[in-house]
């Protein structure tokens, strides 16, 4: 589904991604792990068009999407969430999802302003769709709440709802369970599985190893912007270079 080929991303002298090759297969849940600063979020940023890669190529469904703008990539069917629950805090939960539905609103702007029957029909359809998504994500009872007033766990779910509302084929989740308690994590894992079962391929960046092992079909381990291992979760975590990468980090932490 997604092919990342020889992608380099450097910020000045810092090389965040170093000639990275990576594939995401149809309808899998891929986990991207690695120590801090390994380039996981940078990978998501490059794939979702947040910024273009310095070198290399990203192909999605056989199409070259390297260097496209974020909204163009979203239109092609890649959607993402952000590490910090990023929401329109001043809007209600439902309206946040409406913004996510925005792309599917095809009626021409003049027809929208004149409120023609076709435009109204389409608005009705999108409202129903937004409600459906909230229902699916278990947020429908909170639809009129201001997004900024939601507890952290719900905010995370809402930002995933908004990403789903764009109708993606590939969903990139950046640390979806950070800051959640055990119950919330279990609910989120279940939710992500159900999202995948609805036909959306998923890639997750996550620090919580237990979640990653539970959730993912396949893991890719990054270190210093390069892929150091790839395979089924349980195997991967026993590999020496992976343990080393993490232990190296631990030692550095101890010194600090």
């Amino acid at each position: 589904m997604l092919q990342v080929r020889k992608v380099v991303k450097s910020f000045g002298g810092l090389v965040a991604l170093n000639s990275l090759d990576l594939d995401i297969e149809d309808s899998e849940i891929l986990g991207v792990i690695g120590p801090n600063g390994a380039g996981k979020t940078t990978l998501f940023n490059v794939v979702s068009g947040y910024f273009p890669p310095t070198e290399g190529e990203v192909r999605f469904d056989g199409e070259d999407i390297t260097g496209l703008r974020a909204d163009e990539i979203a239109a092609l069917g890649i959607s993402r969430t952000f590490q910090a629950a990023t929401l329109f805090t001043a809007l209600s939960v439902l309206e946040n999802v409406f913004v996510g539905c925005h792309m599917q609103y095809k009626t021409h702007i003049w027809k929208r302003l004149l409120r023609t029957p076709a435009a109204l029909r389409e608005e009705g359809r999108l409202k129903a769709r937004a409600m459906e998504i909230l229902e699916f994500m278990g947020l429908s009872s909170l639809k009129d709440e201001l997004a900024g007033n939601l507890p952290h766990g719900h905010q995370k779910i809402l930002s995933a709802s908004m990403a789903i509302a764009t109708g993606p084929k590939l969903l990139l989740l950046d640390e979806p369970v950070t800051g959640m308690n055990e119950t919330e994590i279990a609910a989120m894992v279940d939710l992500v599985r159900r999202i995948r079962d609805s036909g959306i391929t998923i890639a997750v960046v996550e620090h919580n190893m237990k979640t990653v092992v539970n959730l993912c079909d396949r893991l890719v381990v990054l270190n210093y912007g390069q892929k150091i291992a790839e395979g089924p979760p349980r195997e991967i975590l026993e590999k020496e270079e992976v343990i080393e990468a993490y232990l190296g980090e631990k030692e550095a932490d101890d010194v600090a």
């Binding site: 703008r69 979203a74 959607s79 329109f88 309206e95 913004v99 302003l113």
Partner: protein, 350 residues
């Protein structure tokens, strides 16, 4: 727009109350010339209406996160375009008005295409440059009358409104009604856009443009739309202004006018897209006149007032009345700025 989908019982009655209040306000505004006879006060009323229109265009752009310093420039473009149509092409005012809307909109499209890409501070600077340069352009083009400007622009031709009256623009009252019509049209158009999905996209861009982009909103295109619509509306106000005053002088379209327009909107409350500009511009146009503040010290008084608003009333006058508005990023930013200044001045936080 948040009201329409709400399942609660409350909002519906609030909508009804709002409708009644606006109907009453429209009737009061229509009947006002029967009470206010003095041409002087009529003039102030007309000017506050024009200022309100301009302040609304400021808020339109502000919604998408663009702070424009070129509002007066497009106001001027509308005024000059209208002058050219009427005086050089001998067109009727009633043709020149829509024509200048189109001209201002098209120039807005071209300039916006170049400017809107750089959001944030870059856009502020670019629009400031346009706001300052436009006077030089007006002043140095011979056929626009140079820095002295052009006088004796004819008033709008008389028109016959079927079944009502023959309107001649000889006194202030017809101008007042024309201003009301323009104001009303502006409000209807802007309200429709705010309530539609376009308005939500604007809001989303203003709140968090990166997030909006990641959800597939074409930030550039929506900002460009906001810029074009604002420019066109400002051009409309400019066309009216040229024929109302009967002259166009480059100096009246300078960047300070834009800053005043910003102040009108902030005084009323930037969270109130329609009512804020109206309240702000009426207060800011009337109070200095009533207090007989001379032009010399007016900037000082205005400056002090702005600082006081930011410090003690960051959400604007309307927030005093407890009217509910969607809190926008700009409103919050002004509030933050106020508390920051307060803290640095040693005020205790409440």
């Amino acid at each position: 727009m948040e009201v329409a989908y709400s399942s609660k019982g409350g909002p519906r009655s609030r909508v009804k109350g709002k409708t009644i209040a606006s109907a009453l306000a429209v009737i009061a505004l229509v009947l006002l010339p029967l009470v206010v006879k003095s041409p002087y006060y009529m003039h102030i009323l007309i000017m506050s209406g024009l200022n309100a229109i301009l302040a609304m265009t400021f808020i339109t752009m502000l919604r998408t996160g663009l702070i424009s310093l070129s509002i007066a420039a497009f106001w001027g473009i509308g005024a000059y375009a209208s002058m050219l149509f009427v005086m050089r092409l001998k067109a009727s005012f009633w043709l020149a008005l829509p024509a200048s809307i189109v001209v201002a909109g098209l120039i807005g499209l071209c300039i916006g295409y170049l400017f809107v890409r750089s959001a944030g501070f870059g856009f502020v600077m670019l629009s400031a440059v346009l706001g300052m340069l436009i006077i030089v352009v007006f002043g140095n083009l011979k056929f626009l009358g140079g820095y002295e400007g052009i006088e004796s622009i004819p008033p709008p031709d008389q028109i016959t409104i079927p079944l009502v009256a023959r309107v001649e623009f000889a006194s202030k009252a017809p101008y007042y009604y024309l201003m009301l019509v323009l104001l009303f049209v502006t409000i209807v158009i802007l309200r429709a856009i705010y309530a539609a999905w376009t308005g939500r996209a604007w809001m989303a861009i203003g709140l968090n443009s990166r997030l909006a982009e990641s959800l597939g909103v074409n930030v550039f295109r929506y900002r460009l739309w906001a810029f074009v619509i604002s420019s066109a509306i400002a051009g409309m106000a400019g066309s009216f202004y040229a024929h109302y005053i009967g002259a166009v002088i480059p100096g009246s379209f300078d960047v300070f006018k834009t800053i005043y327009v910003h102040i009108f909107a902030i005084l009323g409350g930037v969270d109130f897209a329609i009512l804020g500009p109206i309240v702000g511009s009426v207060v800011m146009t009337f109070v200095p006149e009533l207090l007989r503040i001379t032009k010399v010290i007016e900037p000082i008084v205005t400056g002090v007032l702005v600082i006081l608003i930011i410090l003690f009333l960051p959400r604007g006058l309307l927030s005093l009345f407890g009217i509910q508005a969607m809190s926008t990023h700009v409103g919050r930013r002004i509030e933050k700025l106020g508390s920051f200044i307060k803290a640095s001045l040693g005020f205790r936080a409440r």
